[in-house]
């Protein structure tokens, strides 16, 4: 969150908690370069892949929505890994 606030929105990260309702994508400075930086940062930090169809306004509107989106990707990623493990074990067994 501090990265998003500081790098993308250009605001100094304050000592207090960052509001989850903080608007990201409605910021006039949120252009394609900043969007790409955000996507690259998320993919690197959480080791997930964001598809074209995930890039929608509702997923990036606020911090809260962004967090939910990343959590959903992580859960889906985890489920996929479990499924692949189950299939591998069944093939071996």
């Amino acid at each position: 969150m501090a990265w998003i606030v500081g790098r993308l929105l250009g605001q100094a990260p304050s000592a207090g908690a960052v509001s989850e309702a903080l608007v990201i994508s409605e910021d006039g400075n949120f252009d394609s370069i900043k969007a790409l930086e955000l996507i690259l940062h998320i993919e690197r930090e959480f080791n997930i892949r964001i598809d074209d169809r995930d890039i929608r306004a509702e997923n990036f509107r606020t911090l809260d929505r962004l967090v939910q989106f990343v959590e959903a990707k992580l859960v889906g990623h985890g489920e996929l890994l479990m499924l692949m493990l189950a299939v591998s074990l069944s093939l071996i067994g």
């Binding site: 370069i33 790409l36 598809d51 074209d52 890039i55």
Partner: protein
């Protein structure tokens, strides 16, 4: 009303057969003669090119400046013609095109992360880069203006030629974000991406392209995008030789940082502008936006400043006045 003769010849089924049998070199010679005829006998041509003549004359003198402007007119007509004729001439790509530096592209693709070919917008046969390389067998994607414009779509038309992918970045910003993500996917599949960078009349001085004509700057947004994509960038210029052939010159890859791209690509671009200014199609736009030339002499980039071996501009290019 303008009669689209070229479109008629190359898209009408019966006439396409005729077009297929035409020799590109012979058609180019005719195009040269036609351009000379227009220059001397059609006042509108000379009038519309008067600012460009003045620009070249300021550097090269009256006679050479006028010859250069005539080359410019010939080039503009040929660029348009070739795009219409590609749908029937693609099978003659060996006669129409020469690729120099192809081994550099092949070497860049060996890393498995794709390659970005960077050209200058509105310079040379920039729109032929993707068709030529697609015909050569590369999986290439063009990042550029929409193909949806009916005139542009009709220009390529139907025909037996290898296709290329096209990512259209125009639209609302969410469409742009999705297109950039698609661009990353294309690179991840080890495809070649071709994009062009615009010249601006204003930007920070670090983006300046040194040349003899006007204060020009590379587009910072394209450079920022290239830096974030993190894939080596190969400067690519599609020039033209005396017989009308497209000479595609691919230069050494540049590491994807803004400083190296500005310096590396900027030097090569400046050298091309100095040596072959007639291949730039944006002089009228630039001259309209620059009311007066800059004061003092702008340092030119000597051709030898492009340091890597093999990074020289082909000497056969650009001079058309022999035809």
């Amino acid at each position: 009303m303008k009669f689209p003769l070229l479109r008629t010849v190359y898209r009408t089924p019966l006439l396409r057969l005729v077009g297929r049998r035409l020799s590109p070199t012979a058609v180019f010679r005719l195009s040269c003669l036609w351009s000379r005829f227009l220059w001397w006998c059609y006042p509108h041509s000379a009038r519309s090119l008067a600012p460009v003549v003045a620009l070249f004359r300021s550097r090269e003198g009256i006679k050479a400046g006028r010859a250069r402007a005539l080359d410019h007119l010939t080039f503009r007509r040929w660029v348009n013609h070739l795009e219409h004729a590609w749908c029937v001439w693609a099978g003659k790509a060996d006669q129409l095109c020469v690729i120099m530096g192809e081994e550099l592209l092949a070497a860049a693709l060996k890393a498995g992360e794709g390659a970005i070919l960077l050209s200058a917008q509105e310079y040379g046969h920039v729109r032929m880069v993707a068709p030529v390389l697609a015909q050569r067998g590369y999986c290439i994607t063009r990042w550029g203006s929409p193909v949806g414009d009916c005139h542009q779509e009709a220009r390529w038309g139907k025909g037996d030629y290898a296709r290329w992918n096209h990512l259209n970045y125009r639209g609302d910003r969410w469409h742009q974000f999705r297109m950039i993500q698609s661009l990353r996917s294309e690179l991840a599949q080890n495809r070649v991406v071709h994009m062009s960078i615009q010249l601006l009349k204003q930007a920070d001085c670090e983006y300046r392209v040194a040349n003899c004509y006007r204060e020009l700057y590379l587009d910072p947004r394209t450079i920022a995008l290239l830096e974030l994509l993190g894939v080596p960038v190969l400067p690519t210029f599609a020039l033209m030789d005396r017989s009308g052939k497209v000479v595609l010159k691919i230069y050494q890859p540049i590491p994807p940082t803004s400083k190296t791209i500005i310096r590396g690509f900027g030097e090569i671009y400046a050298a091309h502008l100095d040596q072959f200014p007639e291949l730039a199609r944006n002089w009228r736009r630039i001259l309209r936006s620059h009311s007066t030339p800059p004061r003092g002499r702008i340092a030119t980039v000597p051709l030898g400043s492009v340091k890597e071996e093999g990074d020289t501009i082909p000497s056969e290019c650009g001079v058309l006045s022999d035809c």
